[in-house]
């Protein structure tokens, strides 16, 4: 069978189960787009390559499948960079195919040439330049395999135009992927599991600290079993939200900089920290040497390099979280011996619940909007966020019940992530409610994707918590820079209602508390186009509690 490189590419993607790609055409990917023209693979045309990368990422996070995107060479490829880095920091399986100038032109500063493999080197799990059409099939398979196995991550495949055009005899044989420098993690150290179980059975004040690794290894059920078996309280990172239901009696909510007081107190007091699929990020730990100071630490992670990276660990277990937890649960005896610890925690929960004040000007409080969104969706929606205050209020006030229901840029903190990610999630799950909780700053970073949502008739809802500030930066300026609001006041902004309408979507504005629910109901009833709800909220609401950067977790501001 004579096939072009581009046709082989699409053939192999189909073989790997890829049915949807996100992308944006251009000169060097013309051969790929020509092949897509009559391929069964569905291509979603975004309005910016960054949108394509985030949409593929959102698709991956929501579905657990590999997200795929395509961009042309040069600026197309460099526009993917933020999306690639976002996926890399959050360990999301993403494969990006970039066009490249024809092989004879590489290195000659040709039109739209950029060294995307060089540029993406530190922000990818691996990357490739394809040098021969004969290698296309193998590299596509490897790229997908590397992206989704072990600790997932983004892979870039750079495809010179002539390689994609050239036709070769192609026999579709699916070889096993075999890379001598890359082995999929199998098993774990059973001795370490035995040690971990022993610590767990003897702990008086244990806490589970669960992160994104629980979600990527699909281990929420195993985590639940572990927690319930002995009554271990569970706090999650931002990336781990949904791995354990926020409304469960053992849940402590989120920990860290904007975590609950009771989660941070529990960390400070615990005698055993069970860290699962986490990386001891600075936003979680605060000042490292005061983090869980009385605790022995069990750390379960698939990435050996995460063990001991930031903190010393007593019992490290390198392995797939789900497999390890299954083994732990098998050995762990059921018991109910922690009532003293639970009482202490319940006291903290009663004394220091998450709470917020009211607006002196009678404006809507942004936290209240998030609570309303939770109420009306019964916690069953897929929620994406932008970055900043909107993200933290969402984590605090939306009670996540299921894994893969919060899609947020946790590691890189990418403003402009939420909306395209919501598009990706909606493509993966057309029947689920998908809501982007946004700020008025962030939403303007990828607002052009309104056109995408309109084109594909995607009823994604964008809730803008509009305070006409770059709110989180303003909050820090207020707290740490003497209230000097340097360039964070963005009162000059578009009319978001008209903007929505201009794109062909629905625009709603909410200024009064009693309008929140009707507006949300109206938005939830829309079935064929995106909706922007512009909530005019209290301008200077802050996110509390807050651990100042570099401080100990006990050193919280607000919420007391």
């Amino acid at each position: 069978m004579q096939l072009s490189g581009a046709q082989i590419l699409l053939h192999c993607l189909q073989e790997e189960g890829v049915d949807t790609v996100f992308g944006y055409p251009g000169g060097t990917v013309l051969p790929i787009y020509d092949a897509l023209y009559d391929s069964p693979i569905r291509h979603i045309l975004t309005r910016h390559e960054q949108g394509a990368a985030h949409a593929a990422d959102g698709y991956a996070r929501a579905s657990g499948k590999v997200g795929v995107c395509i961009a042309t060479s040069g600026p197309g490829a460099t526009n993917l960079v933020t999306g690639i880095a976002t996926a890399n920091m959050d360990s999301i399986p993403l494969v990006c195919f970039t066009g490249q100038v024809g092989s004879p032109l590489i290195g000659r500063d040709a039109f739209q040439e950029a060294d995307i493999t060089g540029i993406s080197l530190p922000i990818t799990k691996h990357n490739y330049v394809v040098e021969r059409t004969e290698d296309v099939a193998q590299i596509v398979r490897e790229a997908i395999y590397i992206a989704r196995t072990n600790r997932p991550g983004p892979v870039v495949v750079d495809l010179p135009k002539d390689i994609m055009e050239r036709r070769i005899d192609f026999t579709p044989i699916r070889d096993e992927v075999n890379i001598r420098g890359y082995r999929v993690m199998k098993g774990f150290n059973t001795g370490q599991v035995v040690s971990a179980v022993e610590l767990m059975q003897n702990a008086r004040r244990p806490v589970i600290y669960a992160g994104g690794g629980v979600i990527s290894s699909n281990a929420a059920q195993q985590l639940m079993e572990l927690a319930e078996k002995r009554g271990f309280p569970v706090t999650t990172t931002l990336m781990g939200m949904g791995s354990f239901p926020s409304n469960h009696h053992l849940s402590l909510g989120m920990l860290g900089m904007h975590g609950t007081r009771y989660a941070n107190y529990a960390i400070a007091e615990c005698d055993l920290l069970i860290a699962i699929g986490v990386r001891f990020d600075d936003r979680v730990t605060g000042k490292l040497d005061t983090f869980a100071p009385h605790a022995q630490v069990i750390h379960i992670d698939i990435d050996a390099a995460e063990i001991g990276k930031n903190v010393d660990v007593d019992v490290p277990i390198v392995g797939d979280v789900r497999e390890v937890l299954e083994a732990v649960n098998q050995r762990l005896e059921k018991a109910d011996e922690l009532s003293e610890w639970h009482q202490t925690i319940d006291r903290w929960k009663q004394e220091y619940p998450l709470r917020y004040g009211s607006s002196c000007e009678g404006r809507i409080m942004p936290q209240h909007v998030v609570e309303k969104i939770y109420d009306l969706t019964r916690g069953e929606a897929i929620i994406t966020t932008e970055v900043g205050q909107n993200q933290m209020w969402t984590a605090q006030y939306y009670q996540f019940k299921h894994p893969r229901s919060l899609l947020t840029s946790g590691g890189l903190g990418t403003m402009g992530y939420g909306f395209p990610a919501a598009i990706g999630a909606k493509i993966a799950f057309p029947d689920r409610t998908v809501i982007d909780i946004a700020g008025d700053g962030s939403i303007q970073m990828n607002i052009q994707e309104m056109a995408t949502a309109v084109q594909y008739r995607l009823p994604v809802i964008i809730c803008i918590l509009n305070n006409q500030f770059l709110g989180m930066v303003r909050q820090w300026q207020g707290l740490f820079y003497g209230g000097r609001y340097s360039y964070t006041d963005i009162q000059s902004q578009p009319d978001f209602v008209k903007l929505a309408e201009a794109y062909g979507g629905v625009g709603l504005r909410v200024k009064e508390v009693e309008e929140i629910e009707p507006a949300l109901r109206q938005a939830l009833a829309v079935t064929d186009r995106p909706v922007i709800i512009d909530f005019w909220v209290e301008r200077e609401a802050d996110v509390y509690p807050m651990v100042p950067p570099g401080a100990s977790l006990l050193n919280m501001l607000g919420g007391d």
């Binding site: 080197l121 530190p122 799990k125 691996h126 330049v129 420098g181 390099a305 001991g308």
Partner: protein
């Protein structure tokens, strides 16, 4: 801070060295010396890296290196019973009056003079770091005009 010698066995492909050095740069580890070359297997290259740091840094370097898809194997040969060598060329200021002294030093170190200019000599020496440092110290008083070192290469003794 202890020096460690790592033998990093990698795929012989373009860009692999960049991956390794980028990793060191990004994580803030310093490379003391670096030597790269072919091995008995044409599809495999060997990078010998000398890195300075405590156990924790070395552990992180090793684990992070292992995550590179093109890295096949890493051996810490610091503690191993191994042979290590470096090649150094030194251009020394040498007029007629001091040449005999230099020749004597070169003989003692079993080094070689490989070029003679009007007022300088080029000395070639191979050996472990100790020997090379000693030779360089001895030549210092004459005036070193130029010095170039290959970086260390190393191999474990015996059949291992």
């Amino acid at each position: 801070m202890k020096k460690h010698t790592l033998a990093v066995i990698v795929e012989n492909r373009p860009g692999v060295l960049t991956r390794v050095t980028t990793l060191f740069r990004r994580r803030g580890y310093n490379i003391e010396s670096l030597a790269v070359g072919a091995t008995e297997n044409p599809s495999i290259s060997r990078i010998t890296i000398v890195v300075c740091g405590d156990g924790r840094i070395l552990e992180q370097v090793t684990k992070q290196l292992y995550k590179l898809v093109d890295v096949i194997k890493i051996v810490d040969i610091t503690e191993e019973h191994s042979v290590d060598r470096e090649l150094v060329l030194v251009k020394v200021k040498a007029d007629a009056t001091v040449r005999p002294d230099i020749v004597q030093i070169v003989d003692i170190f079993r080094a070689r003079i490989v070029d003679i200019g009007k007022s300088s000599l080029i000395v070639e020496v191979t050996g472990d770091s100790g020997k090379i440092d000693a030779l360089v110290d001895s030549l210092q008083p004459f005036g070193i005009l130029e010095l170039v070192r290959t970086g260390k290469i190393a191999m474990v003794r015996g059949s291992k």
